[in-house]
Amino acid sequence: MTLKLPVLFLSALILSVFLQVSIDSERKPAAPVFEAPEELLLGFLGGLSVTIADILWIRVDEYFHGHEAEEGHAHRHAGEAPATQEGFKRITEVMPFLRVITWLDPHFVRAYQVGGWHLAFNLNKPDEAEKFLKEGLKFNQSRYEIYAELGKFYLEKKGNPLEASLHLSRALEHPVSDAYEKKGLCILLAVSLERQGRLDEALKTWRMAGGIDPADMLIKARIEELEKGKVIP
């Protein structure tokens, strides 16, 4: 009995070291979002950081909704464009919140989407938007949303249909649960392919969009135009 416990202690400790090595090979620790010491500070928050990010998101949403009520826009959401100078100011004030949310929870995809959109289209800071979205992509490569957001950004802001089609194709490789969202991505991909002159691939993508929503007359018309060769890239 005198020896049994220390032997048990040591063998369990050695087993746990081996298991940790094995677990590390399967679950690689994420690259730190920050350099130390901020990473350490965040680390001390442990699992709470994600909860704090959620609470901050509630503040962001309330901020938008609160001002909408004052302005009478009952259905405006956090990601939409500002209608007034006041709206522009509001976005500028909310951006630091979105930055902190993504620091606290790098998997908060919606915050990256909303932040990237506002930076690119409302605050006219395309370089910052690209950097922000690419940071989001680094942490969320298994999700379609940020690929899709980058695709929209390259197509509509940068006018770079090649990059847009690359990102939109990657987005569609991931599961997209919402059929209308998927249809929208197919349409954007088809447009970016058309702009590159890749009409055969564009036609295939339009058909894919048509398959999702067969009643959409605009898609039908576009497919017919492409089939008749009436489209000028």
Partner: protein
Amino acid sequence: MRRILVIAGNTFLLAVRRRHLHIITIFTALILAACSLLSFFDLGVQVKFLKDLSMAAAALYGMAITVVLVTNQVPGEIENKTIYPLMAKPLGRVEFILGKYLGTLMMIFLNLGIIGIELLSLIWWKEGIVEMNLLKAISLIWVEMALFSSLCLCLSLLLSPPACATLSLILYFLSHSKTDYLHYLIGGAESDYTRWIFRAFYYLLPNLENFNLRDSVITGAHVSFLYVIKAGIYGISFTVVFLTLACLLFRKKEL
């Protein structure tokens, strides 16, 4: 073994009679129910919120009841002098510690089971599916609490209950956060000597982040059964480490 089970049963019954535990459980259950009523976001964010907040609530709840239950188990027996008649019986000190540990663990598992069922039901209500990742996450929270309670029990033999509770909380948060930071330090260490010190810290302290599947629950990323089993054995082996340490400490403790 029978003597261990008798002590465990008795400890469990004593824990059931502690009303503040039921209050914590009811409070957590209400928080989880309230999370599901956050309906002013779009659906994707709403489900993310429910999963995020409910997983955080379940983990913090597990930690809270573990600290409340374990820190005063053995010191309470010594302070109330109820340990002396027990020690006068043919009962080994190791059996006493194991019985106490098993009894509190039964209570922790029962409470976490209630919260886990509520969580699974809420997600099923929102998404219409029984989420496998959530099941795996809850089972790993159980293992995590088994490990954490053995750590608390070990500390309770060295420190007073308030000091033990404080240090347990600090260790809980540190063990959750050390992974990324120590990896960062190991990568950035200039000499082999410091690298080995950081490595020793990394491997010889329990890594509670191994049991955190929250990201996978939220993003839907696949978690293999092999991983769950490995993390489970890792938790059990560290539990054995702390329990043996507790037994060694208690054997030498003057009562």
